[in-house]
């Protein structure tokens, strides 16, 4: 059966060190992550930070893709020139989606380097990145829950986990992770999950129409007050209040302008246009 493409945060994938080799000749290899993902294929969406040619013949490329928790190393191999050329032509920074397979390098017993071999690559938008984060977070949440359940069982088994409604692959992965990794720090991954999610809600919070309108007015105020050193925060808020803009709205509008890179703080408490 076709292997599912796991959405895995880099912060978890890079911590994995357990590889399962199938017994048969062509059996797939799986990476077992600390929270029990059983990964043969992956799907990653993030920010392309750099692409580098590492082949002697100029046909092997390595890309780094950042998600809120870390970096995925992605390789485009010579036998897939189409993907290599797509990747090579991409601009950094930009949003990119990659589907592919686990790439496992074990130079010696006990040391494992994990990355990803790209099979499909595409430039995407911020929506897909956020959608991916939510999917990756949901998947991690499910495995955290499964692991907690398994830890509460006297003799945890695939059967019991499946009866609770977990997918077969998750049940298998979670039990294998518990066997291999000692002292799994579940809290660390709960923290990672929260971090990743807050990335969406903080950065991409939808502002009300009121805030959007306030942004223009505040920009005008800052422009007027900024001079050489920047406008005093309090003075800007005061001026905004005179124009009938509430403090909370004004603060949100300023935050948005800063996130959008339109204004910045040259020093604490001062605002200036870029």
């Amino acid at each position: 059966m076709r292997e599912v493409a796991w959405r895995i945060f880099a912060g978890e994938y890079s911590e994995a060190s357990h590889i399962i080799h199938g017994k048969e000749e062509k059996a797939p290899k799986y990476v077992i992550t600390p929270m029990g993902a059983k990964v043969n294929r992956l799907f990653v969406v993030g920010v392309l930070t750099d692409v580098e040619n590492i082949g002697k013949e100029g046909i092997r490329w390595r890309a780094r893709i950042a998600d809120p928790t870390g970096i995925h190393n992605v390789y485009a191999e010579p036998f897939n020139p189409e993907v290599a050329s797509l990747l090579a032509d991409m601009e950094a920074p930009s949003y990119v989606a990659v589907a592919g397979k686990v790439r496992i390098y074990e130079p010696e017993e006990g040391s494992v380097y994990l990355s990803m071999r790209a099979e499909e690559v595409k430039s995407v938008d911020a929506f897909l990145r956020d959608y991916w984060i939510v999917q990756a977070a949901r998947n991690l949440k499910m495995r955290i829950d499964a692991m907690k359940e398994a830890k509460s069982m006297s003799t945890p088994s695939i059967r019991q986990l499946r009866e609770l409604g977990y997918p077969l692959k998750v049940a298998e992965g979670v039990l294998e992770a518990m066997r291999y990794y000692k002292d799994i720090d579940i809290e660390h991954y709960e923290f990672l999950l929260r971090e990743a999610l807050s990335y969406i809600s903080i950065e991409k919070k939808e502002s009300s129409k009121e805030v959007k309108e306030a942004e223009e007015k505040l920009l005008a105020i800052i422009k007027e007050l900024q001079g050489e050193e920047g406008a005093e925060w309090d003075a800007v808020i005061e001026q905004a209040a005179k124009q009938g803009i509430e403090r909370s709205i004004a603060e949100e509008a300023i935050a948005n302008l800063m996130e959008d890179g339109i204004i910045y703080e040259p020093e604490l408490g001062k605002l200036k246009m870029v």
């Binding site: 059966m1 599912v4 499909e120 499946r162 997918p167 809600s201």
Partner: protein, 414 residues
């Protein structure tokens, strides 16, 4: 392996006092014998495996098991093992304590209803359930006595959780459609009643081997049905051993998004609503040509059946849809493809003619759909390496991710 674990394992296969086993095992370990070997030595010493086991006591990992049981079902099938085709026999066997699926790796001449003594089989875990494996070296002897089978209460299942090869299930549902058919069973004509039934969780095919006087719209409860695979999807089967009663309940299936692992694990189904991201647009997507006589896809103007023909153009997409829990292929027909791409086949034909390349159509599909979340409604068909869903409807979607993120944040208490 831990000491305690080894003791438990030994005790599960031999008749002996715990104290004695612990003492002996410790003795072996003190002599530096590896725990695995020490465990096996003790099992042998105490005549492990020689004791006959009841079905309910068989656990995954048990070796050299002796048991007596009745064959409830047996199917023959061919599998490929290291490039060679082999016949294997699968089915269910049971005794007064339980029922267990089995696989026989050679022909023991078993038939439904046989009561046998089995020596030297082993048990493994398959899809979370124990399963007996009868190998080349297993001894199977038919015996004269009968075994009273366990009367277990049937397992109550929603139709979405029904899996092929489980028995004694209880389901409820509404008959959505039903037809009478004559079938040939080993030279004998039999009348069966088959159709589709639904509950709140799924629609599923069924076959009744007896006239229960069912008609469309009836709400029923079936106790003691079993499940077989039909073209890859589960099918409910019930016969004279089942108890069927009409119930006064309003039952209706309203399609809801089913995670793909459920679709994959159960082998497909009918009227499934799924969501996922298109992770691959298969190469045979785009403009294709079909034989005007048999509608089969032709290559370079030649139909396998009808030779040189004037191909009729068609537009379709075959795409891999993956939701992070499972993956399926989805096939969109011309109408749905045109809707998804917002372009007609005639436009694409013109585009391809202008470019003198049908590849341009494929490129446009990739451009518009690859890495795009979609929602699909359709029925599965059987295929070997992946479940394929023939779409009856489909659309690109853009879920409210901020809302989803906030909800998830609340769930984890962040």
């Amino acid at each position: 392996m831990e000491f305690e674990e080894a003791v438990e394992e030994i005790l599960s296969s031999v008749d002996a006092e715990r104290e004695e086993i612990e003492k002996k095992l410790k003795e072996f370990l003190d002599y530096g014998v590896p725990i695995e070997q020490a465990k096996n030595a003790l099992i042998r010493k105490y005549g492990g495996g020689a004791r006959e086991k009841k079905i309910k006591d068989i656990k995954p990992g048990d070796r050299n098991v002796i048991t007596s049981a009745k064959i409830l079902t047996i199917d023959e099938r061919e599998v490929e093992v290291r490039g060679k085709t082999r016949k294997i026999y699968r089915g269910l066997l049971g005794d007064e304590t339980g029922i267990i699926p089995f696989t026989a790796w050679k022909d023991f001449g078993l038939q439904k209803g046989d009561v046998v003594k089995i020596k030297g089989c082993s048990a493994s875990e398959w899809q979370g359930q124990p399963r007996l494996s009868l190998s080349e070296w297993t001894i199977v002897e038919k015996v004269e006595y009968d075994i009273e089978l366990i009367k277990m209460p049937p397992k109550r299942l929603n139709l979405i959780d029904v899996r092929a090869n489980i028995s004694n299930v209880e389901v409820r549902g509404k008959i959505t459609s039903i037809e009478r058919r004559e079938v040939d069973v080993g030279g004998e004509k039999k009348t069966v009643y088959s159709g589709i039934m639904e509950d709140e969780t799924a629609r599923i095919r069924f076959t009744a081997w007896k006239d229960f006087e069912l008609k469309e719209g009836d709400a029923i409860r079936i106790k003691g049905a079993y499940v077989r695979s039909w073209r890859g999807s589960p099918q409910i089967i019930f016969d004279e051993n089942a108890e069927v009663e009409k119930i006064d309940e309003k039952i209706e299936y309203t399609p809801y998004t089913i995670p793909l692992y459920k679709v994959v694990e159960r082998g497909g189904g009918l009227d499934l609503l799924i969501e996922g991201v298109i992770l691959e647009v298969r190469r045979d997507s785009g403009i294709i040509f079909r034989c005007p006589h048999c509608n089969r896809r032709i290559k370079e103007g030649v139909c396998d059946e009808h030779g040189q023909v004037d191909g009729v153009p068609d537009l379709r997409i075959r795409a891999l849809v993956d939701d992070g829990t499972g993956a399926v292929d989805v096939i969109f027909n011309r109408e749905l493809t045109e809707k998804l791409l917002e372009k007609s086949m005639d436009d694409y034909l013109k585009m391809a003619e202008d470019a003198m390349d049908y590849g341009i159509v494929y490129a446009d599909i990739v451009d518009k759909l690859l890495m795009h979340p979609v929602r699909v409604y359709g029925d599965s068909i059987q295929s070997d390496f992946i479940i394929s869903i023939i779409a009856k409807d489909g659309e690109k979607i853009k879920p409210d991710v901020k809302k989803d993120a906030e909800e998830l944040m609340i769930e984890i208490g962040g």
